[in-house]
Symmetry: C2
Subunit: 206 residues, 2 copies
DNA sequence: TTGTCAAGAAGGAACGTTCGTTTTAGGTTT
DNA sequence: AAACCTAAAACGAACGTTCCTTCTTGACAA
């Protein structure tokens, strides 16, 4: 009867997730206690445990959101027609992910959360399965994109498309790691760097 | 005086580090208890705490070794003359790091440890400072290498050398993340992928 | 070569703390 | 009045670490 509005419930939920994400990004999932989270979100234990049954649930919700954000950025980029060159494409992905307002986190904090999620994925089979699913799809979409490059004659065809796809994805992942660890990994740096690499065709070099 | 030989002490120390590294790579530094480590290395608490004053010390020793391994792989590659193309170079780095026998870990386990070290670095200022030092040196060495490419006329000069250096390093980092998370990130995949990217000069495309 | 023994190395129970979580009782909002 | 939330206490379990005991080692005396 005296229920609060659904928007209120959703807002509370996001408030908890955002506060927890801030804690987790800086101290890791297991370096952060629930007391830390409670203090950060400004709610009592009773309130938080009304929205999440356990710390594990809270972690899973945050990791899933991170996966979703990454996957969406990659898949949106892969659907652009005509496909931009890798430098433009990956610049877009990085901007989208890192400025993508995951729980309203700053660029570096967001990148740090991603690294923490990777680490947690290594010890949680459920997360690993979710990530694997998303990765397989991304890889396929980007391999298609590489095929388009080859069909358009702007890339040599003597290399497996999947290998190029994995390499592009790895570059974006590496930039997220660098942003988390050192900061200053601007998308422009990635764009410039890729342009540099793209200009040195090994078949021309000898 | 009834000391045991220095070789014995060193062997015990490495035994502890190796066992701890196996635990940490799979369960994270804070998801692994000291009891887990004790069981894995087959020693008692009294024995382990004779070699490491605290869990933090143990973590720091392992992280330092991981940093050292990475840094050495990158710097060795950067000193090759004449400088190989990026595909060859990064293939070498990846092989060296990942098959580099860090505590005798398997490829994927070793990659997983790297990811855990990154995560820990985000919450430990001392580790962050160490990593920052190594990274700055690596970046400078690789920027020099890019300058050599340009001097040799095999790369366009309209892009900051440092940006290309960071992008190459990021690609290697991304591959380590992929190996940890999904496996199968062979150095050959990276080499092929880079060759593919290098063949699509954006200035030729239109 | 052998026996002795102090000291180093390892064992393992137990410590105090902190963890995630639940429970309690009482207040506030809709 | 029903749902939401607070504040505080308390729970057992698990944590990192310590402490005392036991075993082992190697120098040295015999």
């Amino acid at each position: 009867m005296a229920r609060v509005s659904q928007e209120h419930l959703d807002a509370r939920r996001r408030q908890i997730l955002a506060g927890a994400a801030r804690c987790f990004s800086g101290n890791g999932f297991h370096g952060t206690s629930m007391q830390d989270v409670l203090k950060e979100v400004g709610l009592s234990a009773g309130a938080v445990y009304r929205y999440f049954a356990s710390k594990e649930d809270l972690i899973a919700a945050i990791a899933d959101e991170a996966f979703r954000s990454i996957r969406q950025a990659f898949e949106e980029a892969a659907e652009l027609t005509p496909p931009p060159t890798p430098d433009v494409l990956l610049g877009r992905v990085l901007r989208r992910v890192i400025d993508g307002q995951v729980y309203g986190l700053e660029r570096r904090t967001c990148a740090a959360l991603m690294v923490q999620v990777w680490a947690e994925t290594l010890r949680d089979e459920r997360l690993a399965a979710t990530l694997e699913d998303g990765y397989t799809g991304m890889r396929a979409a980007w391999a298609k994109l590489v095929d388009a490059y080859r069909a358009a004659g702007i890339m040599h065809s003597d290399v497996p498309a999947d290998d190029v796809a994995r390499t592009m994805i790895a570059t974006a992942q590496g930039f997220m790691a660098q942003e988390a660890l050192f900061g200053g990994a601007e998308p422009e740096v990635l764009e410039n760097g890729l342009r540099g690499l793209m200009s040195m065709d090994p078949q021309k070099i000898s």
